[in-house]
């Protein structure tokens, strides 16, 4: 009894630093944002309580919905490729045991770049007149101002930049698969793709689900890449929801409405993340 109580105490003590930071920097600001979303507020001054008026505006705001559509488009272009490429890279690292350190380094390197450096590199490569991409393709395209290409090139740059993280998750997953399973499969005559299909792939399923959910949330939260590379253009076709929230708060000094955008967006992200996790778990159960 005593032992359990002191165990509880030390658990509490260990949790305390995280809980304090969580309450102070996440929970309280989140509750404050909720309150702010029910008021008419400028950037600095919280004024009248307006109930759900901001949410009413939000539902009828085409700019909000189009920004949400752009966010989903970006997620569509990044979630699956990032997860799949991460897996392929992890398999390569795992397969080429002699070069694995080098491969891992090469694949992970872009991830350590700050966003400013990554966007600068992408910007240089995609320069309309002097960029290497146009040079190699023999075209004169202004990628970031091209209605059809602006979002895809941002997505490609993002995949190159962040895929290393997913690779790490998959490498960890691969190393957790017991060697005996492979040995047993080899004894039974399993070769090549069959090994992957019947051993690696099912064993990696929990990791894949985690990677997909984390990636979906990360992709929905896109802001920096489009903000820097396209500034949301051409004519808002790459303006994502967080960018719209930022503009509402800082360019238009409408913190109340921006808070409503933030709350609505958080709700959507949480709902989508949960739905995806549930769906994938169910499928896994069936498989």
């Amino acid at each position: 009894m005593r032992g359990r109580r002191s165990e509880m105490l030390s658990a509490m003590l260990l949790l305390l630093p995280f809980m304090a930071a969580f309450v102070l920097f996440f929970l309280l600001p989140a509750l404050q944002t909720l309150y702010l979303s029910l008021t008419e507020s400028s950037l600095t001054r919280t004024s009248a309580f307006v109930g759900l008026a901001n949410y009413d505006t939000l539902i009828h705001d085409p700019s909000f919905w189009s920004s949400l559509g752009n966010t989903f488009y970006f997620s569509l272009l990044t979630v699956i490729p990032l997860t799949a490429l991460g897996l392929v890279m992890a398999l390569l690292v795992d397969h080429f045991t002699k070069a694995s350190g080098w491969l891992q380094g090469a694949f992970f390197l872009p991830y350590v770049l700050p966003i400013s450096v990554m966007t600068l590199i992408a910007d240089w490569m995609l320069q309309p007149s002097s960029g290497i991409v146009n040079h190699l393709l023999g075209v004169q395209r202004a990628w970031f101002s091209d209605v059809d290409w602006a979002m895809p090139v941002v997505a490609i740059a993002t995949v190159w930049w962040t895929v290393g993280f997913n690779m790490l998750i998959f490498i960890a997953g691969l190393r957790n698969i017991p060697r005996e399973q492979y040995e047993a499969a080899a004894l039974d005559g399993a070769r090549g793709f069959a090994v992957f299909r019947y051993i690696t792939w099912p064993a990696l399923m929990p990791v894949t689900i985690t990677a997909l959910v984390l990636q979906l949330i990360a992709s929905l939260k896109v802001f920096g890449q489009t903000y820097i590379m396209t500034t949301g253009g051409p004519f808002n076709t790459t303006r994502v929801t967080l960018h719209y929230m930022y503009e509402t708060a800082f360019t238009q000094s409408d913190a109340g409405y921006a808070a409503a955008v933030a709350m609505a967006f958080m709700f959507i992200v949480v709902a989508l993340g949960l739905a995806q996790a549930l769906l994938l778990r169910k499928r896994k159960g069936r498989a």
Binding site: E40, S42, L43, T44, R45, S47, T57, D61, P62, S63, P128, S129, A142, F144, S145, V147, T230, T231, G232, G233, P234, F235, N236, E247, F250, T251, Q252, S253, D254
Partner: protein
């Protein structure tokens, strides 16, 4: 190295042994958004002011131009942590003064610094007021102008016997001039920034609407009517017809002109110093001229903005009379010494300087000084002004027809749909 060390020692001695005299020195903190050549010229003015007397020392901090600067001024002022003085755009005055960010400056305070309203050009002095009170001291005005490459314009037959641009009146005449350059020389007719999120098209569009007597917004409604679309279509035609390069950002458009690859450039006067410098250094291989923006419709209205000095209304930290005197002493000094500022291309607005023989003779400024009489500002409104919310929205949509991505009608429809919420919203108090 040696000299640096000695001056560091000298500075240290000054700092520690200044003694009682230093207690009386009023330190004025100024925030500015002036960078590049403007920033250097302002620093020079501050240094010469600091050297000219013992009572006031101005310390200046340069912040990033546009929205970051204004956001910082607004939030810092509300928290009582703003500077004693800030350089602002007069087009932002309704937003800043109306939002409670600036402190009014009384006539008596101005008079004690030797400044009078009648000493400033009337349009700029009027733009420094909000609801009857003065909230800024204007420094300059910087309109759009028409730069031209005399070598290319000459080949296209657009110069008179004195080698100056023959007067252009009417949209067809200007379009023909661009086409003549393109056809006779093979170079671009016009260099102008037109990439997404650039402001120049909005400024030109505002100018041409004003030339037709039309405001963008009146009584909380978009008021430009069908002329808005026609005007935007006429601008877009220059790009669609190949007289100008669509999608160029600011640096690309200026270097196109500076490299002698365009007959004309529509841009603000702030590119004048670069042309003067390049000509002196021999990096600009052509003769250039500058004309006011031509009259393309009923009058010669030209978009302009102005820099001005304003005193932030730091919450809970009212300015002492001594500090106010110190701030205005500096402002008066800059006003009376604004001839140096004119070398930045800007037209000074302090009349004893602006109307002096020296200013009238200053080249190439004298070529476009007449534009000052025709300048129009953004219409009043909390959402108006440099890097303000409406300009930010317009900069996204107005360039699109130039690249053929949207029709002018579609661009303006999207612009209105996005901006509608601003017009309906109550002006924010900060």
């Amino acid at each position: 190295m040696r000299a640096g060390q000695w001056s560091a020692v000298a500075l240290a001695l000054l700092l520690c042994c200044g003694g009682p005299a230093r207690a009386e020195v009023q330190v004025v903190q100024m925030w500015t958004l002036l960078s590049g050549g403007d920033g250097a010229r302002m620093r020079a003015l501050i240094e010469s002011f600091n050297a000219s007397q013992q009572e006031v020392r101005v310390e200046s901090t340069t912040l990033k131009w546009g929205e970051p600067f204004y956001t910082k001024v607004i939030t810092a002022t509300v928290a009582g942590a703003g500077p004693d003085l800030a350089t602002i755009h007069l087009s932002r005055l309704p937003n800043l003064a109306g939002g409670g960010v600036l402190r009014p400056i009384t006539t008596a305070e101005l008079a004690s610094a030797g400044l009078r309203g009648s000493d400033f050009l009337p349009r700029q002095w009027a733009r420094s007021h909000y609801e009857g009170g003065a909230y800024a001291v204007p420094l300059d005005t910087h309109p759009l102008v028409l730069y031209y490459n005399k070598d290319l314009a000459g080949k296209a037959g657009l110069l008179d016997a004195q080698g100056r641009l023959t007067t252009i009146v009417g949209m067809p005449a200007l379009t023909n001039a661009f086409r003549a350059v393109k056809e006779k020389t093979g170079k671009a007719g016009l260099a102008m920034e037109a990439a997404q999120s650039t402001y120049a098209i909005w400024r030109l569009w505002l100018s041409l609407l004003a030339q037709q007597g039309l405001p963008v917004v009146a009584n909380g409604q978009f008021a430009y009517g069908p002329a808005g679309e026609r005007t935007l279509a006429a601008i877009a035609h220059w790009f669609r017809a190949g007289y100008a390069t669509a999608g160029q950002d600011y640096p690309a458009s200026t270097s196109q002109f500076m490299a002698g690859n365009a007959g004309f450039m529509i841009n603000g006067v702030w590119e004048v110093p670069e042309l003067v410098r390049g000509t002196k250094a021999g990096t600009i291989g052509f003769r250039y001229g500058i004309a006011p923006l031509p009259q393309l419709y009923n009058n010669a209205s030209t978009w302009a903005d102005s820099h001005g000095f304003a005193i932030p209304a730091n919450a809970g930290r009212p300015m002492t009379p001594e500090k106010t005197r110190a701030v205005l002493k500096f402002v008066a000094y800059v006003s009376t010494h604004s001839f140096g500022w004119a070398e930045g291309g800007h037209i000074p607005v302090y009349r004893p300087v602006a109307e002096s023989a020296a200013a009238r003779a200053l080249m190439p400024n004298a070529e476009y000084a007449a534009a000052a009489a025709n300048v129009v500002y953004d219409p009043a409104g909390w959402y108006m002004g440099a890097a303000g919310p409406l300009e930010a929205i317009a900069s996204k949509f107005l360039p699109a027809p130039l690249a053929g991505q949207l029709t002018p009608a579609d661009a303006l429809r999207r612009f209105e749909s996005e901006a509608q919420r601003l017009l309906k919203k109550r002006p924010p108090r900060y």
